[in-house]
């Protein structure tokens, strides 16, 4: 079957229910040819499952097809940022951190504060430049819970979160955020992909506003991030 993800046509033929259950909103029945073909063989997932018995077969399929998509995305000028992305009043706000820091907790506080806000993707949005703007895209690969919408929204900013007693946000340079970004994305193994990847990162970190924030769990934290990141 064909999907439309991040404005690209993706050909994929899933075997297991977990992946199938996430694809519905992305199914594409138009005439465009596939930009990305994700190869799937049952044996591949059986081998991965044997290497990682803690993962079920369907989890192996879900994770490895996601990893394959995000690697191929690099060829089309896009990258994954491990982050929770909330959209509000036509802009996307990305909050990135290691698992367990509270990025999803923070974006879900946005939903309390702003009733029209929505989670665009709770764990793995794609970032891609179209024309002269950077967009966040929902994808079928959104983490444990199926919180993602098939849409594209212009990015207001990217914030790297850590926990704090009080709320504090600082705009940082691309160079200051480079390590954080590298640690929260899929770094390709192949040289030709790495060259593209580094060029994409250079542009994103030079052109998209980037912040670092210490925050607690409160609506005041939302005010702090929104006020700093919103476009005037």
């Amino acid at each position: 079957m064909k999907l439309s993800v991040a404005d690209l046509i993706v050909e994929i033929n899933p075997i297991y229910d977990l992946l199938k259950s996430r694809l519905g909103p992305y199914i594409y029945d138009g005439e465009r040819e596939a930009d990305i073909v994700i190869p799937i063989t049952e044996q591949f997932f059986i081998d991965r499952h044997n290497e990682h018995p803690e993962l079920t077969l369907e989890e192996c399929e879900y994770l490895y097809t996601g990893s394959c998509f995000y690697t191929e995305l690099i060829k089309f000028g896009g990258v994954l940022l491990h982050s929770s992305c909330v959209q509000y009043e036509n802009y996307a706000y990305l909050f990135s951190a290691n698992s367990g820091v509270g990025k999803s907790t923070h974006t879900h506080l946005w939903l309390e504060k702003f009733p029209s806000a929505e989670i665009l993707n709770d764990d793995k949005p794609a970032i891609r430049k179209i024309g002269d703007k950077y967009y966040a895209f929902g994808t079928p690969w959104s983490g444990k819970f199926d919180e993602s919408i098939n849409t594209k929204t212009e990015i207001a900013g990217i914030t790297f979160l850590s926990r704090g007693e009080t709320n504090e946000i600082t705009r940082v340079t691309g160079e200051e955020a480079m390590f954080d970004f590298m640690n929260q994305t899929v770094r390709p193994n192949k040289k030709e992909y790495m060259i593209f990847f580094m060029e994409i990162l250079d542009k994103i970190l030079s052109e998209v506003p980037v912040f670092k924030m210490k925050c607690n769990i409160s609506l005041e934290a939302v005010e702090t991030s929104y006020n700093a990141m919103k476009r005037s």
């Binding site: 340079t173 691309g174 160079e175 955020a177 480079m178 390590f179 590298m182 770094r187 390709p188 193994n189 192949k190 040289k191 790495m194 060259i195 580094m198 060029e199 990162l201 250079d202 970190l205 030079s206």
Partner: protein, 89 residues
């Protein structure tokens, strides 16, 4: 002296960064940020220059630094690269 093929040097947001690829990914976990002199040495190695060739490039780029210091810097960095198996003799 030859640099391993398994590294990519690029400027990212104003910094000079080297990333491992292929077999080097398991050995070097992460990325290497180069300062301006390390960048000159790396690019000289990419251009297949020998020690004297690197020294010439360094002299051209850092005119206010004496030759003994430049040689020391080059040796220090080349040894680091050998330790990390980035430079193959």
């Amino acid at each position: 002296m030859k640099l391993s093929e398994n590294f990519v040097l690029k400027n990212i947001a104003g910094a000079t960064v080297v990333m491992p690829v292929g077999d080097a990914v398991g050995k070097i976990n992460g990325m290497i940020k180069l300062n301006p002199s390390a960048k000159v040495i790396w690019e000289s190695l990419e251009a297949n220059k020998d020690f004297n060739g690197i020294l010439e490039e360094m002299k051209n780029n850092f005119t206010d630094v004496d030759e003994a210091t430049l040689k020391e810097d080059i040796n220090y960095f080349l040894n680091k690269l050998r330790e990390l198996e980035i430079l193959i003799d």
